[in-house]
């Protein structure tokens, strides 16, 4: 490609990136404004007097730290469970030999197609009867159940490409089935596992409908609630509302920035081999 074509392409991408990120730039910009400045005619506005108070409101009244810890705990446990269950299920479906294999595989894959919202109503009734509403488990169980089908699907696709010779030599060396799965297969599926971990993270970290249906106790609420709680409390103070939205977005963006490379690798591995 010639240098000039490359420059044109570069400029084109820069413009598109700005347009695509504009809503977020706008959000950050307006989070520093006082509400009176909102109604001026300019699209973006340099804050004459940056309102840091908006961020203090967001941190304190958005109960940011409390909700952040809840989100981190629920998401971590969900990811751990999802990885273990998807790995063992995936292995049983690709390598192990048993009669009902394809039946159970189909049942698990149904989970990708069945909308979770359709099970929301009965799950609410069941969880209420079991005393699982207003508990961490009330989120961890459905989050894991939703993540496992996709995780199993990604991992089975990946495992099929692993040569059986790997396990054969392990058996010769005297490894049992559990060591094979957790010490030999698990590291080999690392790129696919990263995809599973990241998609599970994004889904759980940002999930709102289940959380809002199953939780009413304030001390258990997750990060999206800091935005929701705020909308009513500060209904006309848009600056503070925008500040809480910016704060809520930062953790996910940081995690993404760290794992960005692995996400693409994982998706690439999945797209080529799955």
């Amino acid at each position: 490609m010639s240098k000039s074509t490359k420059t044109i392409l570069w400029v084109f991408f820069l413009i598109v990136a700005l347009v695509q990120l504009f809503p977020l730039i706008w959000l950050v910009d307006f989070s520093f404004l006082s509400s009176t400045e909102f109604y001026s005619s300019s699209v973006l506005k340099w804050p004459s007097d940056p309102q840091w108070q908006n961020y203090i409101n967001a941190w304190v009244d958005g109960k940011f730290l409390r909700y952040f810890i809840n989100s981190a705990f629920v998401t971590t446990v969900t990811i751990l469970l999802t990885v273990i269950l998807s790995l063992t299920l995936g292995y049983a479906f690709t390598r192990m030999q048993w009669k009902l294999r394809s039946v159970f595989f189909t049942i698990i894959l149904l989970g990708i197609m069945i909308p979770i919202h359709a099970t929301l109503l009965p799950n609410f009734a069941i969880f209420k009867a079991l005393g699982l509403t207003n508990s961490y488990l009330g989120l961890i169980l459905p989050y894991t159940a939703v993540s496992v089908p996709l995780g199993t699907f990604i991992l089975t696709g990946f495992m099929r490409s692993i040569p059986k010779a790997m396990e054969e030599s392990a058996v010769v060396d005297g490894a049992n089935i559990y060591r094979i799965v957790f010490q030999i297969i698990a590291p080999l599926t690392a790129p696919a596992l990263v995809t599973v971990i990241v998609t599970t993270f994004l889904n759980c970290w940002n999930e709102f409908i289940m959380a809002s249906t199953f939780l009413s106790k304030d001390s258990l609420k997750t990060l999206p609630f800091s935005v929701m709680n705020f909308a009513g409390q500060y209904s006309s103070d848009y600056g503070s509302q925008f500040a809480v939205m910016v704060l809520t977005s930062i953790p996910a963006i940081i995690i993404y920035a760290i794992f960005n490379e692995q996400i693409t690798k994982g998706v690439t591995a999945g797209a080529v081999k799955g």
Binding site: L9, Q20, I114, H117, T119, L121, L141, I177
Partner: protein, 296 residues
């Protein structure tokens, strides 16, 4: 080797927890949903009369909202397939040609909206499209297009289009990433062979890239239809199906029927039909796209 793969205890330990969890949070609820869908009940556990298929006949033959919600999902799915995906494929190809550090940077940037919470996305777009202080109307003003100013989400004639726009913006990065990953799997010598035959530019991509991407496209089309059908959170948090049902979707409808209108039995009937529709859509789009893909 056979002995290891036939280990019954290991199979049980590997499969049972996953299946149990799945049964408890998917299968049992669906059965329960089916039970309640035949009853005229206001909330779970309240005594109720068995009313047979009344909820279903009402839904299928007298409830225009149900069909409207389904139509909106189909329109959204078509929007994804006809607008979002071609753009994503185009950008994936351009990105692939860019190369170097810039390729990595832009790929990272384009994905950022995908990591933002749906609550933030919804509230942000509500503000951006706000008729008084929203940036969108201000932008039209500064471009001299003030006459186009609008309550974008508040007017039933523009609400669905605005919703489509928000969802395309939010999901664009995922589509781009999948197509980009697919492109990386196409060996370079395919392009070299084709350019020796005289193909270049647009023709080259139309003849080589698109056909070779077809397995990815197939999966993506199915996923787009499912995503459109399952759409809920963004709608729920912005318009809640309104104004006047113009952005109604099945999940939003059933949620409101159950928790706002207290028609629990009826909401469960919607749930069951919702599941049927999703399974049917997956089956159909698999069938339709598979037959296409075989020629490559």
């Amino acid at each position: 080797m056979q002995k290891v793969f036939n280990n019954k205890l290991a199979i049980f330990l590997f499969v049972f927890p996953g299946i149990l969890l799945f049964a408890l949070t998917f299968l049992v609820p669906i059965v329960l949903s089916g039970y309640y869908s035949f009853r005229d009940t206001l909330s779970p556990g309240t005594p109720s009369a068995f009313i047979g298929f009344a909820n279903y006949t009402e839904l299928l033959f007298h409830d225009s909202r149900f069909w409207l919600a389904l139509r909106n999902a189909v329109l959204l799915g078509l929007g994804f397939i006809l607008i979002q995906h071609p753009i994503a494929i185009f950008f994936a190809i351009m990105l692939d040609r860019l190369g170097g550090k810039a390729e990595k940077w832009f790929r990272t940037i384009f994905f950022i909206p995908c990591v933002i919470s749906v609550v933030v996305i919804s509230k942000m777009w509500l503000s951006l499209l706000d008729p008084t202080f929203g940036a969108f109307n201000k932008m039209l003003d500064s471009l001299g297009l003030g006459f186009l100013k609008h309550a974008w989400l508040g007017d039933s004639s523009t609400a669905l289009v605005s919703m489509l726009f928000i969802l395309i913006w939010a999901g664009f990065g995922w589509g781009l990433l999948f197509y980009y990953a697919g492109l990386k799997g196409i060996p370079d010598d395919m392009y070299e062979a084709a350019s020796l035959d005289g193909a270049s530019g647009f023709r080259l991509h139309w003849r080589i890239t698109v056909p070779l991407l077809s397995p990815v496209i197939t999966v993506q089309i199915t996923l787009a239809m499912i995503t459109a059908l399952k759409q809920m959170e963004t709608v729920f948090l912005t318009t809640n199906g309104g104004p006047g049902d113009s952005t109604q979707f099945l999940a939003v409808y059933l949620y409101n029927k159950a928790f706002s209108a207290s028609q629990y039995g009826y909401a469960n009937a919607i749930s069951i039909l919702f599941i049927v529709v999703c399974l049917l859509a997956t089956y159909l789009s698999n069938k339709l796209t598979r037959s296409d893909a075989t020629e490559f």
